[in-house]
Symmetry: C2
Subunit: 334 residues, 2 copies
Amino acid sequence: MHRITFRCWLLPSIVFCSLWITPVAASDPLPSWNEGLTKRQIIEFVHSVTAPGGPHFVPVSQRIATFDNDGTLWSEQPAYFQLQFSIHRTRQLAGSYPEWKNTQPFQAALENDLVALTSGNYRGFLALTAATCGNLTVSELHSEVAAWLKSSRHPRFKRPYTDLVFQPMLELLAYLKGNHFSSYIVSGGDLEFMRAWAPRVYGIPPERIIGSRLKTQAIKRDGKPALLRLPEFEFFNNASGKPISIRKVIGRRPIAAFGNSDGDLQMLEWTTTGSSQRLGVIIRHTDAQREWSYDRKSLIGHLDKALDKAAMNKWTVVDMKRDWRVIYPFQLKR
Amino acid sequence: MHRITFRCWLLPSIVFCSLWITPVAASDPLPSWNEGLTKRQIIEFVHSVTAPGGPHFVPVSQRIATFDNDGTLWSEQPAYFQLQFSIHRTRQLAGSYPEWKNTQPFQAALENDLVALTSGNYRGFLALTAATCGNLTVSELHSEVAAWLKSSRHPRFKRPYTDLVFQPMLELLAYLKGNHFSSYIVSGGDLEFMRAWAPRVYGIPPERIIGSRLKTQAIKRDGKPALLRLPEFEFFNNASGKPISIRKVIGRRPIAAFGNSDGDLQMLEWTTTGSSQRLGVIIRHTDAQREWSYDRKSLIGHLDKALDKAAMNKWTVVDMKRDWRVIYPFQLKR
């Protein structure tokens, strides 16, 4: 688009030629993605399913794409950002619960013991989240998350956590939206934690955010109906939970899915075993300098089986170091 | 629209006047609704929230309307149509379960004892549904529902059950769609039972259908991932379940809600206690001749507390006999 506009001013007489001959090259929908196989596979998939009359054309209503959140749309190190929020909540509440100093998982949270909190299929993390992010109405939780996002800073980048979204993925979301896809977040994260910021940051509306759910009770507060989050999980939206909640909420099989860990394996299998053309994408964290580098041995964003399956199933593997020109929006040259 | 077209042919010279002076009267969006307060309240609400720059304008993204299904969008007598399907499934499977002849709720189903099945907050109905509509993959259930809809006939009208949708409500759905509302079904019915036919019949896509859910398991079937419905309810989407699932799935508060029974009371309260202009509507079954007449004493579609609240909260009460010119699409004069 920029090139065309530029020529309009300088060389108005050749604008028509330029418009007809190089429409694709003239507007790169993914400027923060380096040229190469990965970018080509994504763009070719989108062209293929949106080409009217083409053999792989997919009607707009079925253009569903699902995205994991932690490690796929934003960073997740040194620990899931939502875990950082749960630790913050633990500290905030600890004055009223002196016994937490010697009780797990609260003790681990107060001591910032991230390994203890993320071992054993996140048992500590989940228990901590239920206890510290439950017993609040939905609106109260949203206020707490908003206040925390405003005051907290990421330990490495010294910036608000919401600054650490991936610029290439923001471009991908916009590119898919421009091609009339409906993009959903399908994350293990707490549904309402995400809804407190993701609509603004990603442009994904609340009805397209699927996450883990706490049991919820309809109550009256000041005579008006309110929704109270109970301190107990109803559904952990990870691994095989992802295809299940995709079916229950969306009721359609996605044609594209994006993840970064073994928790996304079943979502990618569910998506790519559909009968028409499908796109499965794994974001691989390979850039220790600009972001982090981790996979098979990491507790956070553990990527092992899904990496083997990616090779078997010809899923696209994004190598962050090789494929991404820029990681975060604040690194863009204006 | 018809009046304009008519004048075009007869009196082309006054077409412009007609277009400018009576644009609203010229195209009635709800032709199967009789003129009167009810119709006026609905149309005035839609005008009010869609008038650009008006004091009650609501952006498109927040134009959410929720509809109960049984008794609100289609009939529910002599018993919920989904219960008829569960009874059909019981008969279909009974050969393999000889003990069902003497075991409740199967015995009641085999004896067509609708009262036993719908007493006690639908306990028998729910147990029957879990047992006969569980133990199937989602695709298998859809096939079973499709086959049943094709072969079964409503006992009174001798027509497919899907013929018994309310023509005035189809017009209302189309009217809201034309005004860029997103309409959702929020029903106590089984989510997948509804998805098997409601998208085609109402034009509501699967991602806007919210219902009761069976527990579901991700399995492999012939080496491919499949979703197995377990014979156990995960969530009964009725009464206070409705605002809870509206929050969990949509994440926005509706600005309009339509129901017909006490099971819709909490959804209507949740909707109409929002801060901006809201519409709460109760469909009241008052037409024994053309449909059915029932309310406070009926087990099916029990309407008692919600009727009292409707008066207190100034909800619109649709009197089917008075307000609807036509009940079913097949009664329309072509």
